[in-house]
Symmetry: D2
């Protein structure tokens, strides 16, 4: 039985590009982490070692830097589309490119109530993401958010679940619910006002988390995803991946102290992990 | 247009189970990190919040601990199969279970040339992994290794590659090649001597990395994968994911010092990332 | 020559306490990481193994949780003082206690312009810290901030430095300056409005970073520290530890592209590390 | 009241130097992480911004690479001494240098029972460390080990401890004891066979951990330190810092399963932290 090369790709991961716009006294900053990955006619590179069709990962890195200047980094989706199209259009051996960009947010320093022209504090918290896939005859944009850490101190229950011989969990009608959300949504188009949509999706996710009276993290995720799709027809589907960051009520009764949902241990591991997709129904 | 629930799953991630066998004076240790994930009839849990068919992730965790005692942890593949079958067979609402187990190796302490009965040093380095998927009518075992960090100080070239306007890389006929390998291989059967196969696959991967004169990491990976498949008919395919951990030759010429492949800067980011699958050809 | 026990301490590290205040509909959250460390008469615990004078670290953890309810977590300095005094005053064998508390900030979710009563987004970014040391006859409070990541895209030079045979760095009159600051300041008193001082110190650090035209990170740190001490007589001294997070101007000239301070590679390692103390002069 | 500059230092952290010796077919590898830190006459650099006495951290990095070739990296202590002496002796403004080196171990690949000439697997596990401080009239070498993770599955008790109102811990006469040890020992001389001493100290630490019947981690650490000092008169003192990595016996009784020290949950946080110094008594 012969041995064959299957699917393969290669690229440069985690090129840390910082782009400063300094056309006037008020600078702008875009701080991104770019990973490129190319697919195509690379069998010889594996099987015989002939690299004639392989654009080095070092060149891919250079391209990320050069495009940051030439094409610029406005919205990360456009930057990724530019890079992806370049690799597929301009390099013969490349059939497909997957460009992943994470963006780190910076807030302007405020001095005496005035925003500073060229100084920033890194915001921390959630990261804006995109994955753009360009192929010869198709292009997709999947944008997202990760590390969006949310907590509510009431308005969350968990009861009525299936019990088997290994079940010891106590039902609760009032618990802390916390998660560090990762969401990715697929767009129906490739020429959208990316930043505005991102801000609105983030707003909806956060608001729905807060407002939905939760019977389970599953239900909260569904409502968050549904809220996004109801407001955004240009989003085909959204995938939510949410660790249940357990906050365990500490038993203070041995010390004669009542603990009515006031003192919790924030546990690291294990954690629940709830994943679901919510989509616009495309059944005819 | 209606909004619908798509694929979904949930489980308990990273339950850290340590199992000691202490039937005689010479103890044994198995140190694992288990993640369980269940698929099935969970739409109501999302859409209405009704949890009647949801086995809590806390129960899944309890099951991991209970099975560590009752069924034991011998080979991680068998432990994962036991867990996966239990969830699918015994819980009505569950159609599929994905059980992921990482195992951390410990070496016995040696005192005066004698192996100690109940003391160990954690080995560090690579981690043995498995992902078992049990469905109602199928079962698959994909085992692997990660964090296997390899380096060779010669016997590696990179030249003859495609050059475009963004290419600045210099060709080389002698470089350091280093990677931190992740490999996953799919088995054709579910009743194999897992540990012996694992050790042999690891041996082949390491030996091929050392012995193949490399014209590119792509070629080295191909030869590593081919070596594994040639020796193991019971392995259907193997996926290799290998960061190219760049070791950059430091230019010492400004100090009047020649550097003939002796002093390198080990860079963190960006890194190349080469991924490929090697398979037994199943074309009829 | 005899072998003797020298300085020793023990405690419980990284107890993750979350305290919810829920006296009305509008909840409050305090999310902290507490480490306790005790010194005292513990020689027997080491030398003979007799634990009669050792308060278990498990008890220290319980105390952190119990005090979070009974004494409450208002300002982290007060919480740490309460814990430290308890261990020194109430446990005979304890002579000294070092209590370290990190606090993670949460922002209230805003829905339709209204702050939500019981839902938050974790802010990310910098962490507020304190280290309180209580001894039988003295108490000190050293508060601080860490992971405060700052960047300015101009207004920073580096030239006129010492050159030796290993110097290759090019002088610059315009560079990106970035750091992830850790600062710790020692208070002259133990009954201050901790939160207000913290906010003002943070404000000064950020503003001085932005406003000082920098000739080196050393000079910027000095000006930041001086700014804090000028405004706060109740602070005895401040220690600043600042990695120079290098942003390396990318050479785009091989591609015929000029790069006038617009495209940078954000490097991980190595990094500069500048540390200094600024103090009120106590020389008579 | 004037504001003054207090203690200060600066340097380059985490320069990742890999040195290959390739004088014959059998290569050698030394893989280190170097941090340099200089003290001296640097007040002007802070107060006026004048850098005339400041050797750039970039130059320090270059020096680490150049010395790796010229002086070589044999024992990390000698490499650090070379670097430290250079900075103090050759740079006028420098009074003191602190050189920290971590070394990562690599094992030769074995092919068919033969050690390979130029291929290695990174060992993982513990890291060998040194901190050398060179001042105008003194030099000290403090070497060590970190991330040495040890576990014993019996031979460990914890009982007879102090109990107060917050104590709930149950006494035990048989528990799992595990730690990830950091040890640092100060040498009495600066011309020792560093590698051989290191190996012997490591051996003693591991053996004593295994052999001492433990009544507490405090006692185990004391015996480990004492064992080192008894065998090594050239070591003045040793500091041990040991997290108590709690392995919590899982209660399986709700499932009708007995758990006699067989199934444990390896907890992440909080953890105990025991620190002590053991020294040769220098009292006259």
């Amino acid at each position: 039985m012969a041995i064959v090369l299957g699917p393969n790709q290669y690229g440069k991961a985690e090129t840390r590009v910082v782009r400063i716009y300094r056309d006037g006294p008020r600078h702008e900053i875009h701080d991104v982490n770019v990973s490129t990955s190319l697919r195509g006619d690379f069998a010889e590179a594996h099987v015989t070692g002939d690299q004639a069709k392989v654009l080095p990962t070092d060149t891919q890195k250079n391209t990320c830097f050069a495009f940051a200047k030439q094409e610029g980094i406005g919205e990360i989706e456009d930057y990724a589309l530019d890079l992806g199209r370049h690799f597929v259009d301009d390099i013969d051996s490349v059939d497909g490119a997957r460009i992943q960009v994470d963006e780190y947010a910076w807030d302007r320093v405020v001095v005496g109530g005035q925003e500073h022209d060229h100084a920033w504090v890194r915001r921390g918290g959630e990261v804006r993401t995109t994955i753009v896939t360009v192929e010869v005859d198709s292009t997709s944009v999947v944008s997202g958010i990760r590390d969006l850490t949310l907590l509510k101190s009431t308005g969350s229950e968990f009861w009525g679940y299936l019990k088997d011989e290994y079940t010891t969990l106590t039902e609760t009608h009032d618990r802390v619910l916390a998660t560090s959300l990762t969401a990715r949504w697929r767009y129906a188009a490739i020429d959208l006002p990316w930043g505005r949509v991102y801000e609105d999706v983030r707003r909806i996710l956060v608001e729905r988390f807060a407002q939905v009276h939760s019977l389970a993290l599953q239900q909260t995720l569904w409502e968050m995803g549904k809220g996004v799709l109801e407001a955004h027809q240009e989003i085909v589907e959204i995938k939510l991946s949410a660790p249940n960051k357990h906050h365990i009520l500490v038993d203070l009764s041995p010390f004669g102290i009542e603990n009515s949902g006031e003192v919790f241990h924030a546990a690291d591991r294990p954690y629940g992990l709830i994943e679901c997709t919510v989509a616009h129904d495309e059944t005819p």
